[in-house]
């Protein structure tokens, strides 16, 4: 990952006559890292809130043990994990000057896996919902839908972002600006993967075991 970043950073000398003491592309990516840290705070708070609600917030609703099974979430997780791998191939393709077609191909595959992940998540939400387990039932269900839903919203925006980038690649070609944007989408996507590992463990694995 860091090798990729350094490379894109070095490629970012859009203004060689500017002897400014920094390089815009790497700085933008640095700023994005900081934004992601801030975003991670939101997830940590939601996880902390969930950890409280799964014990103390059950009220008259179901407990995690009664609600969850591991089947669908495992498939979901696999889809997202593979998508992180395919995004890695996309970035590598960009780094080593693979054809645009191949780079975009990996990106399409990544987004498709993201869509599968989302589809399963929504299906599961739908199942729970129709059983009467809506977020209005208990503090636990509120926390569950919000935490997993927040992650799902992030994946959704990642997919939209990826589609926009593909359209922009068509307009601009694979220039430094788009490379930088693609690297930032990559950081975002990989972060969501890491967050999901935490969610899968905390919500589903530990929920089923509890």
């Amino acid at each position: 990952m860091s090798a990729t970043m350094t490379n894109t950073g070095a490629a970012g000398h859009s203004a060689p006559h500017d002897h400014g003491h920094h390089d815009k592309t790497s700085t933008v990516i640095f700023g994005f890292w900081i934004f992601l840290m801030s975003d991670l705070i939101a997830f940590s708070l939601m996880i902390a809130n969930y950890a409280d609600a799964e014990w103390h917030g059950i009220a008259n609703g179901p407990s995690p043990h009664e609600l969850f099974s591991l089947g669908l979430p495992t498939i979901e997780t696999m889809a997202l994990l593979i998508s992180t791998f395919t995004f890695g191939l996309c970035t590598l393709g960009m780094k080593y000057g693979a054809s645009m077609k191949r780079t975009v191909g990996w990106l399409v595959l990544t987004l498709a896996l993201g869509a599968i992940f989302l589809g399963i998540e929504l299906y599961e939400f739908h199942e729970f919902w129709t059983e009467g387990n809506t977020p209005q039932v208990s503090g636990f269900l509120t926390a569950y839908y919000s935490l997993v839903g927040l992650h799902g919203l992030h994946v959704t925006s990642g997919i939209i972002w990826g589609i926009i980038l593909m359209v922009q690649m068509k307009h601009f070609g694979m220039n430094d600006l788009l490379k930088s944007r693609l690297v930032r989408l990559g950081l975002f996507w990989h972060m969501l993967d890491i967050v999901w590992i935490a969610l899968f463990t905390k919500v589903y694995l530990m929920g089923v075991l509890s």
Partner: protein, 687 residues
């Protein structure tokens, strides 16, 4: 439900008064009227003078960090006037015979808006504005790293403030204080739009602040002049860096908590409800996970200001630079470890309270280090009591008293007796008035010439200081006393006659503070009128020490003609000691500055309309605004022609012109510092 959601005629400010004319509804209608008439008067003035166009093209669309900073400070000043007026009304309420002239709800709205405004729309824009103007100039940067995002931050804050102002005209604000604890602020107990005003105005400004934090941190990490390693950075840049890191980590808990509260209220969720497994303590924890670091977000920049004003007006190098830097870092780290002291009485175990109590007292240590740093900087210096220096000295004197009552409150056993009393109210005003406002007033008086090219009037400045200083003591020392006698905070009226004399003194204090604020308005007015005699075109009117004073006043759009190589902590002092009046130029090269754009104000404007729609449950309009906002961002992402070039030749000419000006400006002694003889950069070295 109609497209206008829950909005109806009764929400218009004048209607309750017409239906039931009392003094309380009359004051509410009057306040709404002031907002409406004020807006109309400004619009009329701009039209008559033909200022719309220059306002738009030179200010509102500008991405220049100095102009953005000035606009932040203007926002803070407008909101400060409202905040102080509210305080005066509340003080008047408590000295009038019980039950006073305000309804209980109206009084509750007043203390809620007063707190919300003072923290989020006075303190935050004030310090963000000062940082914007000064920090890049101190570290040799030409702008913030992300100028577009900087403007978006500004306009989101303006949008949030506009919503709080709108609450005077349309509907009500909430009545649960600036902390808005559920379950009181849940939909059952606060069914009207008040809490939603609080949620969405804060949502706008907290997103803006998070983005500002990212901007400041990246600018400091990546844009410093060559040679300026971190331990050569000016202290104000250090305190800005620590503040920025706090903003990055601490604003998110507020955003998350307020979104959760919104979901509880409008989607029937159970984050903080009193039933169905909600847990209101999670709100208290998240709010103060934001709220305590917030205290240091507010106070650290002011510490930075004092660390420049005091050395300048003492004619001495800052004492103990390294210890000040480490004290700042220590405060920033510790600020995340003390949040529970805001609710010692809410049911955790005694051991947990003890741990947080000790952590709280620990913060007194690095803060104490700083006070000694400033005192020892003044020790044997040749002190000149400018307005900025007076505010700094007044700060030290007063802040230490607040610090002592803070250490008292940090002890859980004492806190159990004094929590929720006026003692606490006196304590935090004792911290924030000197620790934030005095710092920002000092900053404005000190750095004003950088932005506008002229000094501020000293006579009215000093008057404003004495009014503020005396007003503060009269207004808040009585609150300590009656707080210890048992007077709770947030009461609409008191019936205990023992409090009355103290409340009268506090009322006089509030009027005194109002006189201080008025003096500041007069100060600005007089200074603008006499600006010719106050001009300091050669820059450096105070025998300053930082890099920012090596520039002419006002600072040109591009800030530096060439970015200097830094070899010491006080490069400008070294240059002056070597007999120079300008920094040696390095290499003239073409530079790029961001072009003005109306996009930030448009994005934030759409976001503000969307937020207003959410407050009154106009879901369709809110959704349209949300989509529109992102479409605007998308349009901007297609715009790759965002910079304009300033050529090396123009910079060389700028440098030569400044050098000629400086060399032809006559020398004047320090004794004439505050007279019209001071045209900048002329002060002989202090003896």
């Amino acid at each position: 439900m109609s497209i206008l959601g829950s909005l109806d005629l009764n929400d218009v400010f004048i209607v309750p008064f017409l239906k039931e004319p009392t003094l309380s509804t009359g004051i509410a209608a009057g306040a709404g009227g002031i907002v409406v008439l004020g807006a109309l008067a400004v619009a009329l003035l701009l039209t008559v003078k033909g200022w719309w166009k220059p306002l738009w093209s030179e200010w509102l669309t500008s991405l220049d960090h100095k102009k953005i900073g000035v606009m932040y400070v203007v926002l803070a000043a407008i909101m400060l006037i409202r905040g102080v007026l509210e305080a005066v009304v509340m003080r008047a309420q408590q000295v009038s015979p019980a039950p006073g002239f305000l309804s209980v709800e109206h009084h509750a709205e007043l203390f809620s808006t007063h707190g919300t405004i003072m923290i989020f729309f006075v303190a935050m824009p004030f310090l963000t504005g000062v940082i914007n103007v000064v920090m890049p100039l101190q570290i040799g940067a030409r702008d913030m790293e992300f100028p577009f995002m900087n403007a978006v931050s500004l306009w989101l804050s303006v949008g949030g403030a506009a919503l709080v102002m709108a609450s005077l005209v349309v509907g009500h604000f909430e009545t649960g204080g600036w902390t808005a604890y559920p379950p009181y602020t849940g939909i059952k107990l606060s069914p009207n739009e008040g809490v939603d005003y609080w949620i969405w105005s804060l949502a706008l400004t907290s997103v803006g602040t998070t983005l500002s934090g990212i901007n400041f941190a990246v600018t400091i990490y990546k844009q410093r002049a060559p040679g300026m390693d971190l331990m050569k950075m000016p202290i104000f840049a250090w305190t800005t860096l620590c503040t920025a890191i706090l903003m990055i980590f601490a604003m998110m808990p507020l955003t998350v908590a307020s979104f959760m509260l919104a979901l509880d209220r409008h989607a029937g969720f159970h984050f903080f409800t009193a039933s169905n497994g909600g847990n209101m303590m999670n709100f208290a924890n998240m709010f103060w996970l934001f709220g305590h670091p917030e205290v240091y977000i507010l106070i650290l920049p002011a510490f930075g200001v004092f660390s420049h004003v005091i050395p300048t007006f003492s004619g001495k190098k800052l004492y103990g630079y390294t210890s000040l830097v480490w004290a700042t870092i220590a405060i920033a780290v510790l600020s995340f470890t003390v949040w529970v002291h805001h609710f010692f009485t809410m049911g955790q175990t005694a051991n947990l309270n003890a741990i947080f109590g000790i952590a709280t007292m620990t913060i007194g240590v690095p803060t104490g280090v700083k006070v000694f740093n400033w005192l020892l900087t003044m020790w044997r210096g040749k002190l000149r009591f400018s307005t900025a220096m007076l505010f700094s000295a007044g700060f030290m004197f007063t802040f230490v008293i607040g610090g002592i009552t803070g250490v008292m409150l940090a002890n859980p056993t004492i806190d159990f007796a004094t929590h929720n009393s006026l003692f606490l109210v006196a304590h935090f005003h004792n911290m924030l008035i000197p620790g934030l406002l005095f710092g920002m007033f000092a900053a404005v008086n000190y750095w004003f010439p950088l932005a506008f090219g002229f000094r501020l009037d000293e006579t009215w400045g000093r008057r404003s200081f004495w009014f503020w200083m005396i007003g503060f003591y009269l207004a808040f020392m009585p609150l300590y006393a009656i707080g210890l006698m048992g007077a709770p905070r947030r009461m609409a009226f008191f019936t205990d006659p023992a409090y009355f004399p103290w409340l009268v003194v506090a009322m006089i204090g509030a009027l005194c503070v109002l006189a201080g604020l008025t003096s500041q308005v007069i100060q600005i007015w007089v200074s603008v009128k006499n600006r010719e005699s106050l001009m300091v075109p050669a820059g450096d009117p105070w025998d300053g020490r930082g890099l920012e004073w090596s520039l002419g006043c006002p600072v040109p759009e591009y800030d530096f003609t060439t970015v200097p190589h830094i070899t010491s902590r006080e490069p400008w002092v070294d240059a002056k000691a070597a007999g120079k009046r300008v920094m040696d130029p390095t290499e003239f090269v073409d530079i790029h500055l961001p072009k003005p754009t109306g996009m930030p104000i448009l994005v934030a404007g759409v976001a503000t309309v969307g937020a207003f729609a959410l407050i009154f449950e106009m879901w369709l309009i809110a959704a349209v605004c949300f989509v529109a906002m992102w479409v605007l961002v998308l349009i901007r992402s297609y715009d790759t022609d965002w910079e304009e070039t300033i050529t090396a030749e123009e910079l060389r000419e700028g440098y030569e012109a400044h050098k000629r000006l400086v060399e032809t400006t006559p020398k004047v002694s320090l004794d004439d510092e505050f007279t019209s003889k001071n045209r900048g950069l002329i002060l002989e070295e202090a003896v």
